[in-house]
């Protein structure tokens, strides 16, 4: 390759304005797009959650009609999972993986662009039917819960839009994951062996594998729904020899690994942050790697614990119970390693550390309720109650979302070159912490008392707990505007960040200037 030619191909074209974002092949631009898209979806999904909470403030129907309520629960779940959490992690991977492994960019930059630019179209397809009714309240959005169980989802009039939206989302995830795997396996700086990789990179490598393994299965599930509804197949119809329970098996074969897809990168992020602010090396690096790999493996063989009450043979119940409870072992290894990393560290609690510690603390609560739910006979009591809602919000909000925010705060100075406002960061953390716990902790009690999830109305006895939840949800929701303000303020200016940013920072990304240059590592660094 001649000097002039490589010069031509690398440095001459920098479109500005909208074209820069539409056509970009740069991992930082694409990471930024992912993160902003995720934030917009987070706001949209959050607004839907507030509609749900406002309606549930009192018994009886006050604000919306039941179908609209069902649309809100369905779309809130789908948008948060596929629109907010997953794209945020891919955005963080885009920004950070090349920086952390010493690569010039992602391995397949054009496909990287495509992975992102499918998402807005898929989201449009998902939400569009909401606006196809005669008026807004009678919209025809999906209203069958985010798990879209057959045969209920088969009665949905605009099912095809939903199915194709899921196809597109899957397409995007698979391409994004292929790119991340190729980048991690092929683009590491000389000397960075697999067991020297930062934990965030490790967790994403395993997450990407999970995504490639299960997103096609989800595509298969929605394809069967599509053909059952429009082309006369009988996959989920007992009259034709099929079985509605088959849908649940196929769905949860995707769905359970999906749960870990949404948590493993957060584990990686806090495994980066805690050592920095404890000013110690991560305790038990190798065991952390093996724990993540074990969790990923186990995620493939536990899916039917979501279906304990569906009518499985007892042998199935027992197997899925024991396999599920086994996950507690590698998860506990991680939690103990984080705690041990902090043990006798010289700790400071800047915003990213607050979020990281909050994640460890609250995620563990979600883990414990997960153990309770994993015990098959006990699950018959908890199944489809608010106890389940409390459980998965403790792992998804205070696990995945807190992890994402921790990562954004941790790396924001590296991205923008400016420090964020520490006071605002702490205010945001504490308000979110209070709001989040006010929202979801009482749900454990409403659930144990027997309130089923996904209902728009409830008996008077549940009113107090629901009111506390609603108040908490509004505090939680509106606190997020502080984050928006903080981020915009940080992009616009502020105290200049040093290259290391944090006193105890470790890893390649901190050897680059802040803000990181447009092309990350022109020359690959040497790792000793």
């Amino acid at each position: 390759m001649s000097e002039t030619m490589t010069h031509d191909t690398h440095h001459d074209e920098h479109p500005s304005g909208i074209k820069r974002w539409l056509f970009t092949t740069n991992h930082k631009d694409i990471g930024t797009l992912y993160l902003w898209f995720s934030f917009i979806m987070f706001m949209l999904g959050g607004a839907m959650a507030l509609v749900i909470r406002a309606e549930l403030f009192q018994p009886g129907m006050q604000i919306v009609d039941p179908n609209f309520f069902n649309m809100m629960t369905t779309l809130h779940g789908l948008i948060m999972v596929f629109g907010a959490i997953m794209p945020a992690f891919v955005g963080l991977a885009n920004w950070q993986v090349p920086l952390m492994i010493g690569a010039p960019d992602m391995a397949l930059p054009r496909m990287n662009n495509w992975s992102f630019w499918i998402l807005p179209f898929a989201a449009t397809m998902l939400v569009a039917p909401m606006f196809m009714g005669d008026n807004f309240m009678s919209g025809q959005g999906p209203a069958f819960g985010w798990t879209f169980y057959a045969p209920l989802s088969g009665q949905y009039d605009k099912l095809a839009f939903f199915v194709f939206a899921v196809h597109l989302l899957g397409f995007s995830s698979i391409m994004g994951s292929i790119n991340i795997i190729a980048t991690i396996l092929n683009m590491r700086a000389p000397g960075m062996t697999l067991m020297k990789m930062p934990m965030f990179v490790w967790t994403w490598l395993i997450t990407a594998f999970l995504l490639i393994a299960v997103m096609p299965v989800l595509a298969g599930a929605v394809t069967m729904l599509l053909t059952d509804k429009y082309f006369g197949t009988s996959f989920f119809d007992a009259a034709g020899g099929g079985d509605p329970v088959l849908f649940q098996h196929v769905f949860w074969f995707f769905g359970h690994p999906e749960v870990y897809i949404m948590i493993l990168p957060a584990f990686g992020i806090i495994s980066e942050i805690i050592p920095t602010f404890a000013r110690k090396k991560l305790f038990g690096y190798a065991s952390m790697v093996y724990a993540v790999a074990s969790i990923a493996f186990l995620s493939f063989i536990v899916w039917a614990h979501h279906m304990f009450t569906v009518g499985m043979p007892v042998a199935g119940e027992l197997y899925f119970m024991y396999a599920t409870v086994m996950i507690a072992v590698p998860t506990a290894v991680k939690v103990f390693n984080w705690a041990t990393t902090m043990w006798r560290g010289s700790m400071t609690f800047e915003t990213p550390m607050l979020w990281a510690v909050g994640t460890v603390f609250l995620f563990t609560i979600g883990g414990f309720t997960g153990l309770m739910l994993g015990v098959a006979p006990a699950d018959f009591q908890y199944h489809d109650t608010y106890f389940v809602v409390a459980h998965f919000h403790y792992v998804l909000v205070s696990g995945a979302l807190f992890g994402i925010i921790a990562g954004v705060m941790y790396w924001l100075p590296k991205w923008t070159g400016n420090m964020y406002n520490e006071g605002l960061g702490k205010l945001h953390f504490w308000l979110t912490m209070i709001g989040m716990n006010l929202t979801f902790f009482p749900m454990h009690f409403t659930g144990l008392a027997g309130m089923p999830r996904r209902y728009s109305d409830y008996p008077l006895q549940f009113a107090e707990f629901n009111q506390i939840s609603t108040i908490g949800a509004f505090i939680f929701g509106f606190s997020q505007l502080i984050m928006l303000y903080l981020i915009i303020k940080c992009i616009k200016g502020g105290e200049k960040a040093t290259d290391e940013v944090w006193e105890g920072s470790h890893g390649l990304e901190w050897t680059l200037p802040s803000p990181a240059p447009y092309h990350s590592f022109d020359t690959a660094p040497e790792i000793k």
């Binding site: 390759m1 191909t9 056509f23 495509w114 179209f121 092929n186 298969g220 059952d228 007992a238 020899g241």
Partner: protein, 293 residues
């Protein structure tokens, strides 16, 4: 080289990805709008879908064209080549998992759902309350006799011939690869031509078989669980054979234009991997869909 990104080719901004997104959006959205809703009248026609496919075709042509041009200009070093190889490998893995969903559905129905419908095990209620007359059997179209009585396709006619065709095509594509490595262009082109021809003959037989099933055996897509799994599995397989044959056809045309060298022929290998993948899927189909009924 130091002024480059470690020699790794990072392409310039490209409009092909967003073109592809628009194509996908039109194709899927157009299809969705053309499907009937409750009232029975779709809100759109298939025109939008065709437009979407046209955009996708243009995108594929343009994007692959760009990649081929860059490759021919020698912009890809070994590291870029490895990225492509990993990309193709993991893409094929994702395809394997897509088929796994449908194979899984087949096994679940045969091993669990159908016996339970017939009253086996402790899942009696559906049998007791809804279908007490039903006895479990395979192939089945369920207690509702959905789609009416049908016959199945015997394995030792066309399916066996098709198995032979695909196995032979696996041999011819390997023979072509040897030709490429020995720099024997004639062997390369002849081997590829034979592979593509065998691929399209396979698809032709498959189409003939479908017509036969529909007109003579009353075996249709809506023939209950058997019809569903039979057509979805063989149909998606046939689609993948078609895609693989088109990939090999492009490789054939490029070989005739003098592309590829003995060391540098990732496109050939990618297409060949894909071809072996559809081959293996077919063996699974032959055993579990045609043979073990």
């Amino acid at each position: 080289m130091s002024s480059t990104h470690g020699g790794y080719y990072v392409p310039q901004p490209s409009h092909w990805p967003i073109t592809g997104s628009i194509g996908l959006f039109l194709a899927t959205g157009g299809f969705a709008m053309a499907l009937p809703d409750k009232a029975g009248d779709p809100i759109g026609s298939l025109g939008v879908m065709y437009a979407g496919f046209a955009v996708l075709a243009v995108m594929l042509f343009g994007w692959f064209g760009t990649v081929i041009k860059e490759s021919q200009a020698g912009m890809y070093n070994d590291q870029v080549d490895r990225s492509f190889r990993m990309g193709m490998t993991w893409f094929i893995f994702s395809e394997v998992m897509f088929f796994a969903a449908f194979f899984g559905a087949l096994y679940y129905i045969r091993i669990f759902a159908d016996p339970w419908l017939g009253g086996a095990g402790n899942n009696l209620s559906t049998h007791e309350w809804l279908y007490p007359e039903y006895t479990s059997h395979w192939p089945t179209n369920g207690p509702g006799n959905v789609g009416g009585d049908f016959q199945t396709m015997g394995p030792w006619g066309i399916p066996a011939i098709n198995t032979l065709i695909l196995l032979c095509s696996g041999v011819t594509v390997t023979w072509a690869h040897w030709g490429l490595k020995k720099e024997n262009r004639g062997q390369l082109i002849l081997g590829l031509f034979a592979t593509v021809a065998l691929g399209f003959i396979f698809v032709g037989f498959q189409a003939y078989e479908y017509i036969h099933a529909y007109s003579d055996l009353n075996l249709k897509l809506n023939s209950g669980a058997y019809g569903s799994t039979f057509y979805m599995l063989t149909g998606f397989h046939g689609l993948h054979v078609t895609i693989g044959a088109i990939m090999l056809l492009v490789v054939l045309l490029r070989s005739m234009k003098g592309h590829f060298s003995e060391e540098n022929h990732f496109a050939f290998e990618a297409a060949a991997w894909y071809w072996h993948f559809v081959d293996v899927v077919w063996l699974g189909l032959f055993i579990f869909v045609y043979w073990l009924v």
